[in-house]
Symmetry: C3
Subunit: 317 residues, 3 copies
């Protein structure tokens, strides 16, 4: 494995899940693997789970970690080529990325989409500029269109909680929110579920919230949430803004909030969410505080997903 940006970078979802669960059982078994290797974690946007779990994972492997909030501890980066930099940006990503590539053995980067310019976001302009100039393996800590550490975590969580022999039915459902959010988590979740033959996967959302077909793939899509949730074993709840009417909130129907009413339709489904979650907007208290929620276990698994990814990159160096 040479980088970690999407499901296409990994040697199979089942293999990555195996590695992650091995680390969960024995966190320190590869403590020497990262000796004298340094991970630079670069944040252009805030982070809680990704930031903390990846630090813990790297230290479990004996890697050094340097965290840099470039937006707050550094300065604004110029991402466009050929610009006369007489404005508000202080350094070009060409230099910033190349320099960080000199200091670190691996770069992990978080960079959100602007949600203004679909092409800029969907060509992953920002993270690709880092990849182009860093000259070192890059790990996505969430980019404009994907959040692969989250999706690997989700697969790990489904595998470890599923005890039956048949494939579980996994449903991704849109939910309302007060802000315009990226499509990165649902895109990535769809991409990973579609690539993973251990589950049956479906998507439900109001009309107009269709995901980019590249990610949605051949998963059945339902505009009727009730229909989709029938017999679901896992419900993955997440808000996202429109891909078609790019970055817009075109519907915020509270009936799509995940509540016990929705849960009752399912096959006593486990409820998942990447967090942070706005309670009683996206998911009701009764669900988050009830026995079907596995969101904390899911968040805890972020460590093992990150450790699996870092270990595979280290083995390749």
């Amino acid at each position: 494995m040479k980088q970690f940006l999407s499901v296409e970078d990994v040697p199979g979802v089942p293999r990555m899940v195996d590695i992650a669960l091995d680390y969960k059982a024995n966190p320190f078994k590869d403590k020497g693997l990262g000796t004298n290797k340094t991970l630079g974690m670069i944040f252009l946007n805030p982070s809680l789970r990704t930031r903390l779990s990846t630090q813990v994972a790297a230290r479990n492997l004996g890697m050094e970690v340097v965290v840099f909030n470039i937006d707050k501890e550094g300065w604004a980066l110029e991402m466009n080529d050929g610009v006369v930099m007489n404005g508000s940006t202080t350094e070009h990503v060409k230099e910033a990325a190349a320099v960080m590539g000199q200091y670190f053995d691996m770069l992990a980067i978080r960079t959100f989409p602007g949600l203004k310019d679909k092409e800029e976001d969907y060509t992953e302009k920002y993270i690709n500029q880092f990849i182009k100039y860093a000259g070192k393996p890059v790990v996505s800590l969430e980019s404009a269109t994907r959040h692969p550490l989250q999706s690997l975590t989700d697969a790990v969580t489904i595998r470890e909680t599923w005890k039956e022999k048949r494939k579980p039915k996994v449903v991704l459902t849109w939910a309302p929110h007060v802000k315009s959010l990226p499509q990165a988590v649902p895109n990535s979740f769809a991409e990973w579920m579609n690539a993973w033959d251990e589950v049956d996967f479906a998507i439900t959302h109001p009309e107009g919230y269709e995901l980019d077909p590249t990610f949605a793939g051949n998963a059945p899509v339902f505009y009727n949430q009730e229909e989709a949730l029938k017999d679901a074993d896992y419900v993955y709840v997440k808000n996202w803004s429109s891909y078609k009417d790019y970055g817009k909130i075109i519907n915020s129907d509270p009936a799509w909030m995940m509540s016990n009413q929705q849960l009752a339709i399912t096959n006593n489904a486990k409820v998942m969410h990447c967090l942070p979650v706005r309670r009683n907007v996206v998911i009701a208290d009764e669900v988050l505080d009830g026995p079907n929620s596995i969101v904390i276990q899911e968040a805890g698994n972020r460590v093992w997903a990150a450790q699996a990814v870092l270990s595979e990159l280290l083995r390749n160096q």
Copy 2:
């Protein structure tokens, strides 16, 4: 020891002072104690001494440390239950605390009082929400009503500077300030001095600045600073806002500033302060720069107090 929030959590003040002074004499004697254990340090408010000394202490014990300024590197937390989160808070403490409890073996948290709602502050709502949901030992890095790492440090500093056989007279004196400050440091100092039979303890402040009786206990209280400082061996200087007229500055009489005039009344007392201190408002330059000030030694002892606390928690895990 299972948590560190107040003097009630420790196996006796003298025992904790012993442990701290042992580490001062031999900082690295337990370097293996924290192997493969991670301390998460969570800041909802700024910090200098607490932040830096606790990091050093944890590393002296071989613990991993992850520092997280949740207010700046993350987002605003919702502390109230049952809320529809359609406002400015992004994540509920239920999730944030539970998730951090998944990543860390121990959580250290700093959270100041709002000084608006006495009940909210004095029930320690914020830190208690973390304790309730983290599922891991919690160390207070100063909470709404207490600053126990500071108070342990203060006991350590008194013990190591006191050479006579009689008990020293320790006086906590209010001093003026330009801002409304919490009662956490004086509360905690009173609580620890009252629980420690190696000192005679008294309190002095202008009328209206009475501390919560839970903390002041049976310590004699003087409205006359001169009377209180007579024969004092240690003067602990600190501003606080009113508990009665909650969070208010009801008096800012500059005559209460600690100067050589005050010092002359004492028994050549050592002068202490938790820092940061506003010079020539709280304490005069002549005192801070003179031979009676032990504020730097006191601040230096923060490392050993923190190391004592972390080591006791590690031994209990």
Copy 3:
């Protein structure tokens, strides 16, 4: 070596360059040198290269590192003595520096000039206050008038790229910028080049941009850039504000930007810059993206310069 503030602190430029290049060849050869020693890195201003490279260097030597953005994670420091602190500063540098001196074995500090008060800046008031009160070796991460880690890096980069027997001609050239910038980098570069007998050194800038003679020394100064660049083997490009008309931009002639036109005058010179660089304002894309630019290699060498400095300080403790 007892501190690192200027070229006068080091045991010779060639010796420091040797040490740095040895570490470049073998980064981990002194991994035990910093055991149980902690470096406190204190930022009063933003930083990318200095922050990241110094962290990596310290860890290569086995030192603990604690990073503290005092302006963002702490509070404003009072730098003036005798002040009644009833304004916006929360803590005096006397306490802050002395306390950090209690926690760390070495302090590294970044503090920019205000560019308002020449005397305050050129007496290095801020960093000198830290030195005065910290009681521990201080490393400059760039101060009001010097950036010695950068200058050592520059010497390292010149040595490792120069293959001829004759001395290279090194020219420092002013370039335009949109903001008023410190003289620290050019001052320091001039100071180090003047102290280093492996190069011939000259300076060029528009009239009015003369550096403080303390730094410029006996280096020939040209107001005509073309004349200066003739036969140059290295061109060090940097903007600075006026020393005479202190802190002012008195000329922003775009003809001074480093472009291929300038490069053509030189002896196929290597182009250097401390970074961050505003592209097409200070240096043209065609130069930065061309074969003569060594700015990334130069930035990469920051690690080895910092490692050389820290190792010399550790050996002295």
